[in-house]
Amino acid sequence: MATQKNSPLRQHHFLLRRLHSLSGIVPIGVFLILHLTTNATILWGVLNSRAGSDMLARRVGTFQEEVSFINGLPALLLIELTLWISLGFHSILGVYYAFSGRPNVREYPYPDNWRYTLQRVSGYVGILFIFYHVATLRWGWSFLVPGGTQWSHNFAASTLAAAMQGSEQGYTVAGIAVSLFYFVGVSLLVYHFANGLWTAAITWGLTISEQAQKRWGFVCAGLGAGMMLLAWASIIGFATLDYDAAAEIEGAMHSETNIPAAAQSHADNTNP
């Protein structure tokens, strides 16, 4: 690659390469697992019997509680900054490294070679997706959202559903595109993490023998499959959510005059 003889990229080549590998697992990969688990409460929240008897209230209520919990974390901005810096570092170096390769799956169509190529493609698409995701929902660039919905952390589920569906009244054509982009983007990122975790074990020299690489492959594939289920559960949950019904549940949770369904059932359980 055409870098200057004394460029920092060359002088700290080893350190940067290994930090690139590490940053994909900690903090980015760990965050991804937590993030998908939280988001998936929009579906598996139905199992949360403490959040009332209404199925929709359980889903929306559990997700809203998770969001409120995260918003109450101390030094949240520091956590966010760490993630943004890590993502920027991993993305910029990743693209630079990826450009040094020339995929040749046409000549050598081995599954591993496809895996290598998809790792790079998923990185490129993943960067675009994360940028769109963070810009629209965190930085409030609502001009990029069809229907212009502004995400609110007090109405976390309803505004997210509207942002993904294209309007507060349900699906629009642009909304279908956004939802599909979420499906493709999140799926590729889960793949990118699972495969990256597999190759990181080779990079650091944890798995040397072919058998060890195969065994670790099953672990990574299992983790990836689990994360994929969480990701798809989240997307199905928000893609099928009714804005008005969800907003009503959230409004009740934040209103001091109305006792939220979740709190009421909680009170019922603790004071027999």
């Binding site: 040094s100 895996r115 290598y116 990079t203």
Partner: protein, 275 residues
Amino acid sequence: MAHASTIKNFKNTPKPDRTVQFRIKRCDGPGQPSRYESFNVPIESGSNVISCLQYIAANPITVTGQKTTPVVWDAGCLEEICGACTMVINGKVRQSCSCLIDEYAPHEGDVITLEPMSKFPVVRDLWVDRQRLFESLEKVSAWVPIDGSYDLGPGPQETPQQSEMRYTLSTCMSCGCCLEACPQYQKEDDASSWDTSFIGAAPLSQARLFNEHGTGRQLKGARLDALMGPGGINDCGNAQNCVKVCPKEIPLTESIAAVGRAVTIHSFTRFFTGK
């Protein structure tokens, strides 16, 4: 792997006395433009690509009847030991001496495409210059240091397991298949950039071979230092094509991971001890 497919393909009895067409990528010299020329070659039982190239050299007439220059290729042992005749056959890299026509073109009029390796500069036609590969072996000190002014004494003891593992690695013939198939290994015309461009699987595996040798490990630190920099072990993208195209079935991906572990330990040791 190669053996299994050979046996399978031989179940289809090849048609005797057939003519096979060779489509060959030709180039008159370094920096010259390349072109394709096709030749019809009558096939005898047991023909390989080299024997067909010999026929073309004796009869340099294309399918359109035009007389042309004989096709140039490189070859040595003719038993898949030296690696000199490596070329790209029907899009995949392999040795041409061990490429049997009965397997590749069992029918009348079948076409076999021959191209020089794309990652090395072409000398002429199918003959490439693999100098960069040999300089890469120098970069990783792929030898055992035995030169000295005093008697070094007998070599260290070695277990049979260790010996067996190193033997497999030692069968590398520097043919370049792993480099040709690697999406991270690129052709570099400028020799001054070879040192910082990805070194590829074969030299990495040779570094492991000599790091595992009782006397060879004296140079382990220097080898790992060389492989920690730009173009070294970290530029591997884990596409793992190398191990699949290796004609010697050397566990190249295991070697890459082993060198990865060695540089991990090397770097941590250096970080905490300063050595």
